[in-house]
Structure formats: C-alpha cells, structure tokens
Assembly symmetry: C2
Homo-oligomer: 221 residues x 2
C-alpha cells in the first residue's frame, strides 16, 4: 500500500503561511491525539489548539485517520534514522553487548523526549498507542518493525543458538518497559509515594538488558 495512489500534481509551491498552518495543525494533532487517543480526540479541539478554522484541518490533514497516520509518520523516519546511526557508530567502536545494543535503541528516543522539543514527549504516547492497538498494526509493520528487526539481528548475532522468537519476546518486553518509562512517570511516582521519584535511563537499560539476557540464558540451557 503506497503512500498516495492519486498524487495530484501541484502547480504552485505552497506559501509560507500555508506551511506554517500545516505545521501548527500537525503539532496540535499530535498533542490532542496523544492526550485523548484517536477516538477521543476531536477535530474541533485540534483546530482550536492550532488556532485555525475547523475546515482547514481537513484541508491540510485530510480525514481524521489520514491526519493521525501522518502525525505518526512524521517523526518515525527521523527516529529510525537516529537509532540506526547510533547503532552504526557504536559498532564502529568495537564489539557490542546487549546493554550497548539496547542503549542505541533507547537513547535517541529518550534524548529527544528529554530535549527541548516538548512534542517528542507527546509523540511517545502516540507510539505507545499504536504499539498497543492491533487496529494500527499496519503502522507498526511499516514504520517501526524494520528498525526493530535490525536491532534484533544484532542480538541474534550475539546469541546464534537462540531462536528469533525468544529474542523478539525480550525485545517486546523491553519496548513495553521503554514506553512505560516515557508515559508512566505519574504511575511510578504514585507507587513510590514520593514525588521526587526520578526514573533514570541507566535504570531502564539495566532492567531490559538483564531481562533479555536472562530470557536468552533460559532458552540456551
């Protein structure tokens, strides 16, 4: 399924104002979708947050579903690139262990989420939604799985004896923990009954690396 089967050719370049509107709409959509979910999000809320008339949202984003897909796609490519770059660079510096591999997968995302652009935090919730809902399985297949496969290749190379299913299992658990890290600080703080509970990236990586290692060791016996 290609992106657009009917590619209407443009006769003119988009104006600066049009580009700005489109960007504001996508940002607003990202925020509202992340906050309310796909069904819960209202196009009118997106329009209000973007401070544009209602009709303009459909004009730029198409249908609500098309808008959602575009919002998810927008950062997926950059994220995949950053992850693969981190992996390539780490490989250039010597042999990789499990911690290093997972670190290359986690850190680019976490760096963005902790960085200056607050939209990346909203994006994390979007990814969590897509990853959890079978209704969006095609998005996962197209945008996220290729990169995941690449990282799983590295882990499989480290442990040639174990089946890919075992590695996939550990990887899915690790991604679940990553998304929990990004979206459940309120949860951790509530359980720790102290507001200064600050989960660390190192803690997350340590958890997942040890978990994967144990799962793999279990399968190797």
């Amino acid at each position: 399924m290609t992106k657009k089967t009917t590619e209407k050719q443009r006769l003119r370049a988009p104006s600066k104002r049009s580009i700005a509107s489109r960007s504001r709409i996508l940002d607003a959509a990202e925020t509202v979708f992340a906050r309310d979910g796909f069904e819960g999000a209202k196009v009118r809320d997106i329009a209000a947050l973007a401070e544009v008339p209602l009709g303009l949202v459909n004009h730029h984003g198409g249908s609500k579903e098309a808008l959602f897909r575009e919002v998810v796609e927008r950062r997926a490519e950059e994220l995949a690139r950053l992850r693969l770059e981190a992996l390539a660079q780490a490989k250039g510096q010597g042999a990789l262990d499990l911690t290093a591999i997972l670190g290359c997968f986690f850190r680019p995302y976490l760096a963005k989420a902790a960085g200056s652009d607050p939209q990346w935090l909203a994006y994390a919730r979007l990814v969590a939604m897509v990853s959890a809902d079978p209704a969006w399985a095609d998005i996962s297949t197209d945008l996220f799985d290729p990169t995941a496969q690449r990282f799983m290749d590295e882990i499989c190379a480290l442990h040639p004896k174990v089946s890919r299913a075992v590695v996939a299992e550990g990887f899915v658990y690790s991604v679940a923990a990553l998304l929990a890290f990004l979206t459940s600080e309120w949860r951790i703080a509530a359980l720790a009954s102290q507001s200064d509970a600050q989960a660390s990236v190192e803690g997350l990586v340590a958890f997942c690396a040890a978990g994967c290692a144990a799962r793999i060791a279990q399968a190797e016996t």
Copy 2:
C-alpha cells in the same frame, strides 16, 4: 469518593431474568470496551452483543462511564484476592526470592487468562488501558495500587537498602511487560516472523526478575 452516594433502596429482590440480563450486559461491555477502547466503544454495540434493547444497557449499567468502571471493578477484587492468596501461600513455604514474588503476582492473572473463561483475556486489555491512561488514574489508585504496594513491600523487605522508588520503577516495568505479554502476542509473532512463536510464563518471569534484580543491584552500589 464512595461508590454510590445516592443508594436507592430496593424493595424487591431482582428477578432471575434481570440478573441474567445484567450479567450479559457486563460481559458484552467488557468485550467491546477491550476491543474498541472507552471512546471507541458504542453503547449500541454492547447492547447488540448482549442481545438486549439499547435502553436496557443504561438501565443496568447507568452511564457509559459508570458501566466501564463497574466492568473494571468486577474482576479486580477477585484478581487481588488470588494474588494475595498466592503470596501468602508461597510465604508459608519458606523465604521468597524475587522470582517467587513476581510469580505470585503474575501467575493468578495468567492462569485466568489461559483458563476456560475467555472473558479474562478481554479483561487484560482493559487493565492495560486503565494502566496506561492517566484519565483512569483514580481506578488504578483504588483497585490496583493496594495490591501492588503489598508486593512491593515484599521486594523492599528483600532489599532494605534500596529506595522504594527503585522498586517501584522495576515493578512498573514488570507490569508493562506482563501486559505486553497478554496483549501483544500478535506483535511478538510479527517480529519473530513465525506464527508458532509462543511466549511462555517462565520466560516473562525470568525477564522481569532479572530486570528488577539488575535495577536494584545498580542502585545498591
């Protein structure tokens, strides 16, 4: 916030037919909520699945939100009881390690989900929804957190040196992995590119126990 501030007293016992209708409606609501999410679920779909007229859903379940809460509450108490019983029984058989504690938390749920009642699998998706969405934080606080605290107490007793925040961190990651196990078999199978990928309970427990242990060890140094 108590359950019902205006408790209208009953003058008659509910009829057998009424009890059956109510049960069918709750089962149908559980299935539809799990499949479509809270916003995506339609009261009409619930009525259709339960094979009752539309109005009867509101009559028995109250508002859509009240119905959702009741569906979540319905199994929460039984689940909490099973978990605490498993923990008590395991404690009676000697000192507990991390694997045993997590096993007591995971197994009752997994046994139910794998058991005869298919509704428990739908319930797993409901719990995942509630756990992930801050909008339902009050449900988590009321229904799930007390049991989680009890299990975290055991882990804390095992490692007196580490802060509760570290334990909470590992616990949240573990629950995330549990929910991924219950709701993401399609995901694991897709990544493993083999349909016979069968994640095991032992694999999940091994992953989480080792992960928590590593996170705690990291904090103890």
